[in-house]
Amino acid sequence: MSKNGKVLLSGEKLELILGQRHILSGVDIKIHRGEIVTLIGPNGAGKTSLVRVVLGLLKPTKGRVQRHNKLAIGYMPQKLHLDASLPLSVTGFLKLTGNRGSRILEALEMTGVSHLSESPMHRLSGGETQRVLLARALLNDPDLLVLDEPVQGVDVVGQAALYQLIDKIRQQQNCGVLMVSHDLHLVMAATDTVICLNQHVCCHGHPESVTEHPAYLELFGHSAQSGVAVYTHHHDHDHDIHGDVVDSDAPADPTIKSHTHTEHCNHG
């Protein structure tokens, strides 16, 4: 279902230098309507910076981001810290988007937390906050959903449920999804493209279905719900402790066809 949709947003050769630090170099990213792109990478790889560049919160040092005309973005930040001194109910929080009560309730029903509509924001649990934030992102009628670590701090069963919800939203709204994953290997099963980032794009490709994957079965057994998939990295380079690319002798596994190498991979 993925790449026949229109390109919603594309960035070419994105370069980001903050102070003395090189955060991103030569990053290409493209998101189509109806496509789910998951961004993975180690800490400090520049995932959140790339998301901020895509959102227009940070200006890239070089390269540019092109957005489809009048692109509506629904953004779900990684964390929301509300001071307990601010008496704000979930409905009050969602009303800041300028929507009416009935639409707000619809969005809350969609994300499965309509029973919380009158609860104070600062009393919500982590998972509840995520779902309220997702409802808020939906209220913008997004063409593109940008989710920064949406399942952070949620257990695997909860993750599967959230992933299924995101997939349902994608199908209903026919929007594109850009998501940051906090895990290097487990991603959402419905992901069309995984981008592994470590300053540059290390590799990208399609995740494997989790139910077939021995690593996942070993961890969670057959009883675990699907919705989560494993992404197998096949890098042909390593990084030294500075993050610079070092050639590695290990040949790429020819049996894996689902990922593509970029020009930064330094191999034939």
């Binding site: 227009g56 919160l57 001071d83 109910s89």
Partner: protein, 261 residues
């Protein structure tokens, strides 16, 4: 009721009216120290007004506005925390004001009145100044209410949703500077933050929405002013500090109420 008391009531209630919503933002955004810094700079304004022989109200207002802009610019400086920067600026401007007033204001100026307020001496000029500030600040607050609340909840989310964060933030700081400049008359340089923070904090337990909290804070502020003036009238206590004490009492009373929100 004697005229000076009526003037004092109008002046005090006008300031408390604006201090309610602005104080609520100060509490939500943890800006108490920021308020202190602006307030202390008001004394520098007094000194400069004397030195340049311009209207002191005007000099104080300009000084507060200028400092608010400086603070806005300094927020992007990452080498020192805002806390430290405010600490430096706050006490430097207070010391500078005290030294200047000491040298140039000897005999011409009532330092005590500037430090602790001189509500009972509020004259027509002060009333006009406070009225004009109300006429500017209250509609602006109502107009910017939603964006202000949005950036308080999550700045980046607000930016993605199309709110121009920088101008909205600047407007909040400038409004705060204006109110502090006129509040100096009521409670004095050293107690302005109390008038902002205490009624807002007291109203937290009594409110379930931000709007309710802001309005309740205004009402509690006005009650404090009335109480302070009554104390001052019957027991000859200083009006500004008495109002702050009444506000603190209201805060304690509010804490007795159980809130599950």
């Amino acid at each position: 009721m004697p005229e000076f008391l009526i003037n004092a009531l109008i002046a005090g209630c006008g300031v408390a009216l604006m201090a309610g919503p602005l104080g609520s933002f100060a509490v939500w955004r943890r800006m108490a120290y920021f308020g202190d810094t602006l307030a202390h700079s008001a004394l520098t304004g007094v000194a400069l007004g004397l030195l340049l022989s311009i209207n002191i109200n005007l000099a104080v207002t300009l000084c507060c506005l200028l400092l608010a802009l400086v603070l806005l610019g300094l927020q992007n400086n990452r080498s020192l925390t805002t806390d430290t920067l405010l600490g430096i600026l706050s006490h430097t401007s207070l010391a500078f004001g005290l030294v200047m007033v000491g040298i140039f204001g000897e005999g011409r100026i009532d330092l005590y009145g500037y430090l602790f307020g001189d509500l009972l001496a509020a004259n027509t000029d002060d009333l006009i100044m406070i009225g004009a500030t109300c006429a500017l600040v209250l509609p602006l607050l109502a107009w910017l209410w939603k964006p202000l609340l949005s950036i308080t909840v999550h700045e980046e989310l607000a930016r993605v949703e199309g709110i121009k964060v920088a101008p909205v933030k600047a407007a909040l700081m400038l409004m705060m500077a204006l109110v502090i400049a006129v509040a100096m008359k009521v409670v004095g340089v050293l107690l302005i933050t109390a008038l902002l923070i205490i009624p807002a904090a007291a109203s937290r337990r009594l409110s379930k929405t931000p709007e309710r909290m802001a309005v309740t804070a205004s009402v509690l502020g006005m009650v404090s002013i009335c109480g302070g003036l009554a104390l001052s009238f019957y027991y000859d206590s200083p009006a500004g500090p008495s109002s702050v004490l009444v506000a603190a009492l209201l805060f304690c009373l509010a804490q007795m109420r159980k809130s599950d929100f």
